[in-house]
């Protein structure tokens, strides 16, 4: 145990995801020895992120304005919506530089064990958006890009059930299968099973 503010800082850092007690201590002492200007900059960014960042009214992504940069961008195809669990997933898809549509961020996955049902996610907003609640171009395709784990798969199943009655709407799911660079013989049964059922003709 250290005294006063140093221990307070270690405790606060230790509450962040992925930071154990040792890392918290290392970061705390790094900050203690850092230039005042660097610490001030970090302090300002932390302040701004809490005060200045909200969630986009349309897609639920983090945004500095009422609607995010992607939803405001007229060059992006508004008829195509990619549904993801978290804002960090938007970044992951953006990094591919393959996707020119818009997004919808659910805010998590259906997880009854954690008390997360359909009402806790932005599913109603998604249905409203496809139903033309926000005007603008009609949504013609929804790509479901939830995580390829138990909760993500169940969420995809639920979304398919909710979306299948919209006339003229195409619903697709990200292909899931073997990681590039992996070995077939080490693939687990579930992953290999998914890869088989999602195979494509070449």
């Amino acid at each position: 145990m250290y005294e006063g503010p140093v221990q307070d800082l270690i405790d606060e850092l230790g509450r962040l995801p992925g930071i154990g007690p040792k890392s918290a201590q290392r970061i705390a002492f790094h900050l203690l020895g850092a230039e005042p200007a660097d610490v001030t900059r970090l302090q300002e960014v932390l302040q701004r992120v809490k005060e200045g960042v909200t969630f986009c009214d349309i897609c639920g992504n983090v945004s500095e304005q009422a609607t995010c940069r992607i939803c405001r961008d007229a060059r992006r195809d508004a008829a195509l919506v990619c549904v993801v669990e978290e804002p960090k997933d938007v970044l992951a898809v953006e990094r591919t530089r393959e996707y020119r549509g818009r997004y919808h961020v659910l805010g998590g996955a259906l997880d009854p064990l954690s008390g997360v049902g359909p009402d806790q996610l932005r599913i109603r907003e998604l249905l409203g958006r496809i139903g033309g609640q926000y005007g603008g171009a009609e949504v013609t395709e929804v790509i479901i890009a939830t995580d390829p784990n138990t909760e993500g798969e169940a969420t995809a199943t639920y979304l398919v059930r909710m979306l299948r009655d919209f006339p003229g709407l195409t619903v697709t799911r990200l292909a899931s299968g073997l990681p590039m660079g992996g070995d077939l013989e080490f693939a687990d049964e579930l992953t290999l099973g998914r890869a088989l059922s999602g195979r494509r003709s070449v």
Binding site: P112, L113, N149, P179, D188, T191
Partner: protein, 271 residues
């Protein structure tokens, strides 16, 4: 470091650090255990999707200082695949896992019967042969019986007088005769108690013949009974997807109060 091997069902997973997970398993011989799965969340993990909830696995672990560590996993049944493709099955199976977790509170206390019930329930749900909510209620009734909290269905919970009786009282432990009946008892349809008895005894022909109203009323009684005894609300029970059920799920009963779902008795007999 000592190694051991067992088979188990993954009840719950929690993130640990960047890539690891704490996995809660209900095992055949060691009861409930919590173990670390290293690197599980990496895409290239050698464990792959084997340590996901609903997985029935054969695993090897070593005894760690605080938590045991998983060293090898093989899938016995990938129940998850048959569950995540159907939202009703998924929510019913989630409630099976949460109830199993709550009914086996102490780590490393053998609970083989409950383990076998969980595997049986997940297998039936994943196969899609039976109505998911009936499978869930059958599991809950049998698991409660194993835990020593069998509901009285055809006899009086207090004096044992053979029934069937008209009144049901959750705090008293189930059906109650006219003499023992405490205030605040409810009066479910006789057909509902027959349904619960059929589910408890695995009489599927009778259970599946029950009306939708009975199934709903029975589910309400079972949920109230379970939550009363484990002394807490099971979050997943409120999220079970029940087809054609527009009525809101009954709230957790206050201790000593009526169960809202079972139709409050308009004229409780005063003693």
């Amino acid at each position: 470091m000592s190694l051991y091997r067992d088979t188990g069902v993954v009840l719950r997973v929690q993130k640990l650090g960047e890539a690891d997970r704490i996995i809660t398993l209900l095992t055949r011989r060691h009861g409930k255990i919590r173990a670390v799965g290293k690197g599980v969340r990496r895409t290239m993990s050698r464990f792959g999707a084997r340590l996901e909830p609903f997985g029935h696995v054969d695993l090897q672990l070593y005894t760690g200082r605080t938590l045991d560590v998983v060293t090898q996993v093989q899938t016995l049944d990938a129940f998850g695949a048959g569950l995540v493709d159907d939202y009703e099955r998924y929510t019913a199976a989630s409630a099976v896992l949460e109830a199993a977790d709550r009914l086996t509170p102490e780590e490393r206390t053998p609970a083989m019967r409950i383990y076998l019930l969980v595997v049986g329930a997940l297998r039936t749900l994943a196969n899609g042969e039976r109505e998911p909510t009936l499978v869930l209620d059958a599991f809950l009734l049998r698991a409660m019986t194993q835990a020593g909290w069998a509901p009285a269905l055809l006899e009086c919970a207090r004096c044992g007088e053979p029934g069937p009786h008209r009144a049901f009282n959750v705090p008293a432990g189930g059906s109650v005769c006219p003499t023992c009946r405490p205030p605040g008892s409810v009066s479910p349809a006789p057909e509902t108690l027959e349904l619960l008895s059929a589910l408890l005894h695995g009489d599927w022909a009778d259970a599946e013949a029950a009306s939708a109203a009975s199934r709903r009323e029975g589910a309400g009684l079972v949920a109230a009974h379970v939550q009363w005894h484990v002394e807490r609300q099971l979050r997943s029970l409120a999220l079970v997807d029940r087809p054609g059920d527009d009525a809101p799920w009954p709230a957790e009963p206050e201790r000593g109060a009526d169960i809202a779902s079972a139709g409050a008795d308009p004229s409780p007999v005063a003693h």
